[in-house]
């Protein structure tokens, strides 16, 4: 027991001074096969239960999908027109940043999710890629459906990712339709809220899509975060809020992409310009 207690204290001290990572990396090498096996078992059982549930919903979903396909066919025609127009405008403006898909195609690491946060109050995942794969802290993590989170800690073969639904997470965002900006914050229970939206009638509406704005330099622009499902507006408050349904299903994350060519801005070490320092 004394040994274990000493291990705990030593662990805390080494973690604080940054020397625990190599030791944890070694332990992870041993844990990883067990974790992968456990996740495989869990996934299998979960899939079985999910299949039974899915059957029940299939008929209703099929009807919804037929309607959706009809809508999308119309929208597709319109988007092709918009795309052609956009291409011309982009060339004219020498627009440096094209769509995120093109930007990141040559700089992504695809990896498996091999673990989750062992408690209910914070939201992390463990992924099977680390510094050996070129992963660095701060890199954004996405799926084909949208933004997942950001790499927090990196080990040689593993990384810990803080999800955007974590209560400590904050992502600069904008409403695609109105370009109104705010901050997407995680809420207890996995809810996402777009906060600090300016008051006004047509700032945000149910159904609006919310994207990363790139402000602050923490995430690239134009990554999809979610869709507005509820608006919380009170006249006496300075800002209004929008509740989002994330496009990513965080309960069923299996494979994620890490965008490795995005370097997040760090404000640490910056000094104020001469004459602008506070009292």
């Amino acid at each position: 027991m004394v040994v274990l207690g000493a291990l705990l204290i030593l662990g805390i001290v080494l973690d604080r001074i940054g020397l625990l990572n190599p030791a944890e990396g070694g332990v992870f090498r041993v844990f990883e096969p067990v974790q992968s096996a456990f996740v495989g078992i869990g996934q299998g059982v979960s899939d079985l239960v999910q299949t039974a549930r899915d059957l029940r919903d299939l008929r209703q979903r099929n009807q919804q999908l037929v309607e959706l396909v009809n809508q999308l066919a119309v929208e597709n025609v319109r988007l092709k027109e918009v795309e052609a127009e956009n291409e011309i405008l982009r060339r004219l403006l020498d627009f440096a940043q094209s769509s995120p898909g093109h930007t990141f195609k040559a700089a992504e690491v695809r990896t498996r999710v091999i673990g989750r946060q062992p408690d209910n109050i914070s939201q992390f995942i463990l992924i099977a890629a680390g510094s050996n794969d070129g992963i660095q802290a701060g890199m954004p993590v996405v799926t084909e459906r949208g933004l997942v989170g950001r790499v927090e800690t990196v080990y040689p073969t593993l990384s810990k990712v803080r999800l955007i639904i974590d209560t400590s997470s904050a992502v600069s965002a904008l409403v695609q339709r109105t370009r109104a900006t705010g901050v997407v914050k995680g809420q207890p229970g996995g809810e996402l809220v777009l906060d600090y939206l300016p008051q006004g009638q047509d700032v945000v509406a149910v159904g609006d899509v919310v994207l990363t704005s790139g402000a602050g330099g923490g995430f690239p622009r134009q990554l999809v975060i979610g869709q507005v499902i509820e608006i919380r507006q009170k006249d006496y408050e300075m800002f209004q809020q929008a509740v989002l349904r994330p496009t990513v299903d965080f309960d069923r994350l299996e494979v994620v992409l890490i965008i490795t060519n995005f370097v997040p801005l760090s404000l640490e070490g910056l000094e104020p310009a001469p004459g602008t320092a506070g009292p």
Binding site: M1, L4, G5, L7, L8, G11, I12, D15, R16, L20, E24, V27, F28, F31, V34, Q35, F38, V39, I41, G42, Q43, V45, S46, I114, G115, R116, Q117, P118, D119, N120, I121, S122, F124, L126, E152, T153, K160, V161, R162, T167, S168, K185, G186, Q187, P188, G189, G190, D251
Partner: protein, 168 residues
């Protein structure tokens, strides 16, 4: 402490890994049971100081390795739970099944409070929102319900491997 206990350490490590790999698949309404917390709380009630503390330390260290929170937060929180259960064990002669479930619910509140305090004290980690109403209290109910299932095999295991020191 009997020699079998040392064989249990690998099992505890596997349980610690299971908490972050298998248990999240048991999600109900966005929450999953804190299996390790339930085991440590009940085992501390059943076996007292020494074994409860060792379970808390071994499982806590594994959880800290796999967690995104600062290293030590889960170990310290599990130790707090174990100490609370040991204090209760010293004060009462006989515990009913219902009392155990209530104690597991109470242990959940202590556990999450201690995790948040330790994470803040070690690395300044902050938590926002109505965690008590939306996560911790529902988790306490869920853990009490799971404890109702877990208690009986643990009690059997306790009777198979140790001495009956407290009435049930």
């Amino acid at each position: 402490m009997s020699p079998w206990y040392y064989l249990l350490v690998p099992a505890l490590i596997l349980l610690g890994i299971a908490q972050s790999t298998l248990v999240p698949f048991l999600r109900i309404a966005g929450l999953y049971p804190d299996l390790i917390l339930i085991l440590v709380a009940i085992w501390s009630l059943l076996r007292g100081y020494r074994e409860g503390t060792i379970w808390a330390l071994v499982c806590g260290l594994v959880m800290d390795m796999l967690s995104g929170l600062p290293f030590g937060a889960h170990t310290l929180a599990l130790l707090a739970v174990s100490l609370l259960m040991q204090a209760v064990r010293r004060q009462v002669y006989r515990l009913t099944f219902g009392a155990v479930l209530l104690l597991v619910a109470l242990a959940t509140l202590v556990y999450y409070g201690a995790v948040m305090f330790a994470a803040w004290a070690i690395a300044g980690e902050s938590f926002a929102g109505d965690l008590l109403g939306r996560v911790i209290l529902p988790a306490a109910l869920l853990n009490a319900a799971v404890a109702a299932v877990v208690f009986w095999p643990l009690r059997w295991f306790h009777q198979m491997t140790g001495e009956q020191e407290m009435g049930w």
